[in-house]
Symmetry: C2
Subunit: 386 residues, 2 copies
Amino acid sequence: MVEEFKVTPWEVEGVVDYDKLIKHFGTSPLTEDLLEKTAELTKSELPIFFRRKFFFSHRDYDLILKDYEEGRGFFLYTGRGPSGPMHIGHIIPFFATKWLQEKFGVNLYIQITDDEKFLFKENLTFDDTKRWAYDNILDIIAVGFDPDKTFIFQNSEFTKIYEMAIPIAKKINFSMAKAVFGFTEQSKIGMIFFPAIQIAPTFFERKRCLIPAAIDQDPYWRLQRDFAESLGYYKTAALHSKFVPSLTSLSGKMSASKPETAIYLTDSPEDVEKKVWKFTLTGGRPTLKEQREKGGEPEKCVVFKWLEIFFEEDDKKLKERYYACKNGELTCGECKRYLISKIQEFLKEHQRRRKKAEKLVEKFKYTGKLAQEMWNEAIPEPLKRS
Amino acid sequence: MVEEFKVTPWEVEGVVDYDKLIKHFGTSPLTEDLLEKTAELTKSELPIFFRRKFFFSHRDYDLILKDYEEGRGFFLYTGRGPSGPMHIGHIIPFFATKWLQEKFGVNLYIQITDDEKFLFKENLTFDDTKRWAYDNILDIIAVGFDPDKTFIFQNSEFTKIYEMAIPIAKKINFSMAKAVFGFTEQSKIGMIFFPAIQIAPTFFERKRCLIPAAIDQDPYWRLQRDFAESLGYYKTAALHSKFVPSLTSLSGKMSASKPETAIYLTDSPEDVEKKVWKFTLTGGRPTLKEQREKGGEPEKCVVFKWLEIFFEEDDKKLKERYYACKNGELTCGECKRYLISKIQEFLKEHQRRRKKAEKLVEKFKYTGKLAQEMWNEAIPEPLKRS
């Protein structure tokens, strides 16, 4: 196949064709049936991420629902690589994860891969990624997880992850890792080992694991599914999300390394106004006259895409906006102003919660119920007695 | 060079030419000057391991002595891969290490690589190597280290080693690891990462590290010396020992996997008698008559080698035995009986101390002064308060 786009855990390029990606990765489409079943089991309306197909693909999500229905339960696992400030694109999957935790009442493990980011980013020091870990954890906590059912752990600190990764690291040889992740002779040995560390949390409980994450992380789960059962665990399930585009383009994904193309969670209302106003790609026509005559192209518009993915909760309003644009009734300026106000509103609330999160870090990392259970197994008995 | 022998961290084959090995590995011979200086600084007689040149090579041992003399100090590091019961060949370097700790009064870190042995041995489970870890630790403690200056740690448990290995794992790429250790496409990713774990303890203190170990471990230290200074630490120093031959041959090294060729530290007096009597290679002649006429060949005799390396403390007696053999005054039976009594005597005392070691495990691993300091840094503050 000629690749017009590229999706790996470290790179997303081009305009992604998600139907092709499902075939290419060998995953399954997230069907209406599964969504209805989700609504039924949770006795809830589906959240925007499901209604709008931001999550579009899965592995074994049907089995997760079955495990839940039949009382075996499951657990959630997701993560974050702390290489810089978090932006809108990073946080959206966490809101979906929160919804799943809340509705199914399950444990959630969040891995902060400060080791990975130090190893993979030539210019970052280990201290840098540890600092970003703390910073990013504030954003994650602000989403509002259950502190007694959520364990946020940093690999450099919850190093029991190393012990848990060892049996996994005996299942993967260099040839397999190379095929899946494209390692070369120049890859650092820490990078080569890292897949075992990212896979380890899928074995935290003897239940099926469900991972809500962008589809670029799927190669890890595919690898896990090759040997999970031989280690006495379940093949992990996954829910795959699309990528949130940057302000300037519908191709690739929002990148924290290009400040003008991303909205950071710490941006001020002025930053938001300036960036959206100045940089956002729209589906508008060159002149207002043409816009009125031919109508806009919402399919080619980042403003519309952002409203669709996250910022316009109301399905009816989104539909009306779509047709108003197509019919030339809307100007791009109007849409941008609407998006700006929506983002500002969201960030105001997020930043308020982020401030409060400072006092909750200890609970999520060490003293909450689930965190305590996990650390309890990590510290040898004689040290607890002393 | 045509290799008549082979020395890697996993294999020792053939009759090792130690002078060639010094050139091949690029190490330095342990000179009389350095040994005299050691005696002078420690105000002690040199122990058998130094007098008989069982330790024969080094890296930067001169700088270790200088650091000691000038008050900067140093620390000791060695280790053990727990894949089975320990034998005589495994324990001898630990006696040398004990002498160094005692005479120089320095800290000692002993790494038990239960991760490595599980990863490298196809047929061992992780539980197997963890069990052998406990078993081997008893033998190590029996040697008599200072419990407040010695930290014995198992990689599967003192997993902070993972965090410490990460900056190292960013310094080594697959190509380097392959060149040094011979990894292939089939090598497991845990094996490929392991050099970073074995190197990490050389950075436990901001002093120079001295590693007394068999020379087959030197490739790890050579690699460490390539980048240690770029990470703000010292290049490690090392003292290299020869290999203890098996009962049946002067080539290769004693192997725990061939029970009849090794004396285990848990062998009974009867085991010792039977094995030495039945299997030991000597330098004797086919008939007693020939032996009386031509004399024996102590250079080709494992009995003599074992006495030389460890079991005949008395230099004068060893020399007398050498000439008595050469002159045909001794029979191999006499020498075997002498060695049997020496080994029995040693094992009786070792096994008595091994029994007592059961009560000391906790101190060496967790509650001794040095162990406490190390664990104290490994456990996050909020967990200590709770």
